[in-house]
């Protein structure tokens, strides 16, 4: 099988309320992706949350290069997780984790 090109995104999740756990955040992105673009696209996106600091709200996610724009759009569209209002801020995109500095 041909290998797909990956993209890594450094982000900050601003919040107004309680801390968001890694699992909650990951599920919220999956749900948003599924709702906006459907099951097949969500499966092909190969979205994965590499690292996430729940205290600072910073982290790195990875996905298929072709799906990057839609994965980010899905994350930006999340307005709340549980009872906490959030604002997703994409920071930097790279083809390697090292490239994010």
């Amino acid at each position: 099988m041909k290998r797909t090109r990956k993209r890594y995104l450094q982000f900050t999740l601003h919040r107004d309320g309680a801390k968001i756990t890694e699992k909650q955040f990951s599920s919220a992105i999956w749900s948003s992706l599924l709702s906006l673009y459907g099951e097949v696209f969500t499966a092909d996106s190969k979205f994965y949350l590499n690292s996430y600091d729940a205290q600072k709200g910073t982290g790195i996610l990875q996905c298929n290069a072709a799906a990057l724009e839609k994965v980010i759009a899905s994350a930006v569209m999340i307005s709340s997780i549980g009872t906490t209002s959030v604002s997703f801020e994409p920071k930097k995109v790279s083809g390697t984790i090292k490239g994010l500095g």
């Binding site: 709702s35 724009e69 980010i72 759009a73 930006v76 569209m77 801020e89």
Partner: protein
């Protein structure tokens, strides 16, 4: 210099929180819905506040009067997309900066002819994305349909597009980079989306600041130097 041209601050007490959030997100200017002392105010935290007026009139006569009163006081004058007659009037009038599409008028359509007129008068289509954030499921689908159709009509006619938050709470604001991705979702390409977030709002503000300055006389006529009469007796 990214500017959010529509922030619905409920009262002046809430301004502080919006300033903090704008600072965190890298937004350098906002146009709040509250009354400001001057058309342009720089806050203590370095954020530039531009006065914004939303035209409320229902008929052309009352709108003309309202516009005459507000144009010299506000940096941004906006009018929602509404009926054909008022839409065409607003699209032709160079004093109107933005035709707004947001949560208050979802379902309003932008006609090709209106968009073409707006292109010639320099009026831009403003899309407030708060409506997308606050809806889910089928409702969000309806909002997206309305916004994507309007964006496509504007783009095809060459009318400029502005993306603004329409946020009534600081956490509803989005960073400029996040806003460009909302632009992609509305069918814009990378160039158009960046223009809708970074360039067009900046250009509208600069144009109107020039118009509001005491050196401005009329389109193409400005006072470049003041001084007394040199031919003294």
């Amino acid at each position: 210099m990214p500017i959010d041209l529509n922030v619905r601050i409920p009262s002046s007490e809430g301004l502080d929180e919006f300033e903090d959030m704008a600072g965190k997100l890298g937004i350098t200017g906002i146009a709040p819905s509250i009354n400001l002392d001057k058309p342009v105010v720089v806050s203590g935290k370095g954020l530039v506040l531009y006065s914004r007026a939303n035209l409320q009139g229902k008929r052309i006569g009352s709108l003309r009067k309202e516009l005459g009163l507000l144009r010299r006081r506000a940096v941004i004058v906006a009018f929602p997309l509404a009926g054909v007659e008022t839409s065409n009037w607003a699209a032709e009038d160079q004093r109107v900066d933005l035709r707004t599409l947001g949560e208050d008028n979802i379902g309003s359509t932008l006609k090709d002819s209106t968009a073409t007129m707006a292109k010639h008068s320099g009026t831009a289509l403003e899309i407030q994305f708060a409506a997308i954030l606050q809806s889910t499921g089928l409702n969000r689908s309806r909002v997206l349909k309305s916004f994507r159709e309007a964006a496509r009509t504007a783009r095809d006619a060459g009318m400029k597009i502005v993306l603004s938050s329409g946020a009534s709470h600081p956490i509803h604001m989005r960073s400029p980079m996040a806003m460009t991705y909302i632009g992609f979702m509305l069918g814009m390409n990378r160039v158009d989306s960046r223009e809708a977030v970074f360039d067009t709002p900046q250009r509208i503000v600069e144009r109107n600041e020039r118009k509001l300055s005491s050196e401005f006389v009329g389109p193409g006529v400005e006072i470049v130097k003041r001084g007394g009469n040199l031919e003294k007796d």
